[in-house]
């Protein structure tokens, strides 16, 4: 069923009796050509592009709980491509271009809103670093503009411009950045993949891999064995847990990242802003809540809830940037589990086990990467060669010394 404005009007006049479930609820078959483990944004996008762009069939997405119940439902919905390094920037710019056409492609209102993202500058050294970053973005075909204090004041008059310690001295803007309705991304990809014949199997937990003579033959699940020619892990946050079932150790630690949303307010924050003196980012959702977050908790965790010191730290940063934030009441806060890789960049690669593939290590940047991650992973699964924009995301970059270390932190996952 195609969604359209006309369809909404027709259904409204006929008692909304014509709507059908957006995807089927099939029983798992005994085997598939492609098994994607993880029904989040990346897994569903991978299934969709495998079917749509690479013409593959006999595809299943296995999800332990319900689709979209993990990190695609727990992020702060920001999309952007303001990266510096060669291994990253082309990939994220490709992702942003896919976001721009996503709703027409999927026939689904994902509320892609290119309201712009602004990284604030507080020191001269930061201005130099952000100018360099902006130039790297432009060289890779993205948009970037350095804004003056007056330009920022015109759009965000309520910021704390004259702070004694960290005055605002300018900002790096990417006008094509913005926000997307995060759940709708999972639902849109699920519906589109399902209509191309992909089996989305929920409540189906992978409990082990069947590996013989160095080849993966399928997965043991809570609903029985399912054979698979190519098995693809796509469970960022739980990658180490899943891959340990194949006796793999990963260059990843799991960390909890908290996010916060206030009560609904009238429109006050037109775009996404990030604080340059502390770690704080904020946007306003279409329902009016201010959505914000900051640093991860910084220790290994699978708990999906954080601790109070980081709550205090994030709120202090927010108050330092937007003093008016103190007048808003916090409505909800939650935590999501991040795959923190050793260099802060992701992995999309084959493994040493034939037929077993890996996508993970997204740190806290996975949401914006969803379309490109799906496309590049689908390319790898379909062709056994890396996509041109994901050639750097290899497992062996750590062994070979080719890390993609955006922050220059080294092997300190809790600092990326």
């Amino acid at each position: 069923m195609r969604y359209s404005g006309l369809r909404v009007i027709k259904e409204a006049l006929t008692g909304h009796k014509g709507w059908k479930p957006a995807w089927r609820d099939p029983e798992p078959q005994s085997s598939y050509d492609y098994i994607i483990i993880g029904g989040g944004g990346h897994g569903l996008a991978t299934a969709y592009y495998l079917a749509k762009e690479y013409g593959k069939s006999r595809i299943a997405v296995l999800e332990k709980g319900w689709i979209g119940g993990g990190n695609v439902g727990r992020n702060t919905t920001i999309i952007r491509s303001n990266y510096l390094l060669d291994g990253n920037e082309p990939f994220y710019e490709y992702s942003l271009k896919l976001w721009e056409g996503l709703e027409q492609e999927l026939n689904y209102n994902a509320m892609v809103s290119q309201r712009g993202i602004l990284n604030l500058i507080h020191t001269d050294a930061q201005r130099d670093a952000f100018t360099r970053r902006g130039n790297a973005m432009i060289l890779n075909g993205a948009d970037a503009e350095m804004l003056s204090v007056d330009q920022i004041k015109a759009r965000y008059p309520f910021l704390n411009f004259d702070d004694a310690r960290f005055p605002i001295k300018g900002g790096l803007a990417q006008h094509r950045g913005g926000t997307v309705r995060h759940d709708a991304v999972a639902w849109g990809y699920a519906r589109a993949a399902d209509s191309l014949g992909v089996d989305i199997i929920q409540n189906c937990e992978v409990t082990g891999f069947r590996i013989e003579n160095g080849s993966c033959l399928g997965v043991e699940t809570s609903r029985g064995f399912i054979g698979g020619t190519k098995v693809a892990s796509c469970v960022a946050g739980s990658s180490s847990r899943l891959m340990s079932k194949a006796n793999m150790r990963l260059p990843i630690e799991s960390t909890v990242l908290q996010a916060f949303v206030t009560e609904g307010l009238k429109p006050v924050l037109p775009g996404v802003i990030t604080y340059g003196a502390g770690h704080f980012y904020c946007s306003q959702s279409d329902k009016g809540g201010l959505v914000f977050g900051g640093d991860p908790d910084g220790y290994n965790s699978y708990a999906q809830r954080g601790n109070l010191p980081v709550v205090e730290d994030v709120c202090e940063s927010g108050m330092a940037l937007i003093p008016a934030l103190g007048r808003a009441r916090l409505l909800r806060m939650w935590g999501g589990i991040m795959d923190m890789s050793m260099d802060g960049s992701p992995i999309i690669d084959r493994t040493d086990i034939n037929g077993l593939y890996f996508n993970g290590g997204w740190c806290y940047g996975g949401f914006k990467a969803t379309p490109a991650s799906g496309m590049c992973y689908a390319h790898l699964l379909a062709t056994d060669a890396p996509h041109e924009f994901a050639t750097a995301y290899r497992f062996d970059r750590f062994r070979r010394g080719y890390m993609i270390d955006e922050k220059g932190m080294g092997a300190q996952p809790n600092l990326h």
Partner: protein, 95 residues
Amino acid sequence: MIINHPLLGPRDAQEFTFLGDASLIDRPDWEAENAAEQFYEYAYLRDNPAGLHRELWFHETGDRSWLVVTRNTLTHEITDVEMASDVARSKGRSK
């Protein structure tokens, strides 16, 4: 989280900084035949378990001692705290 320091008693985890898996104590021998491979695994690969995790915490704003904390990554419950120097000595590493 409260970390029960073996010398100082219960201290707020905010006083500490986190390094990571306590296996970082087991620094490989740089003269070993396969030192490059061992250092690759040492520096980059982690068990990253869901459940009990032995990990290094540094009492940065306290007595600046290193601790080995056994903590459940599913609940954040801390079940054991040892001085990292004791752990290292028991492995014959520290003098």
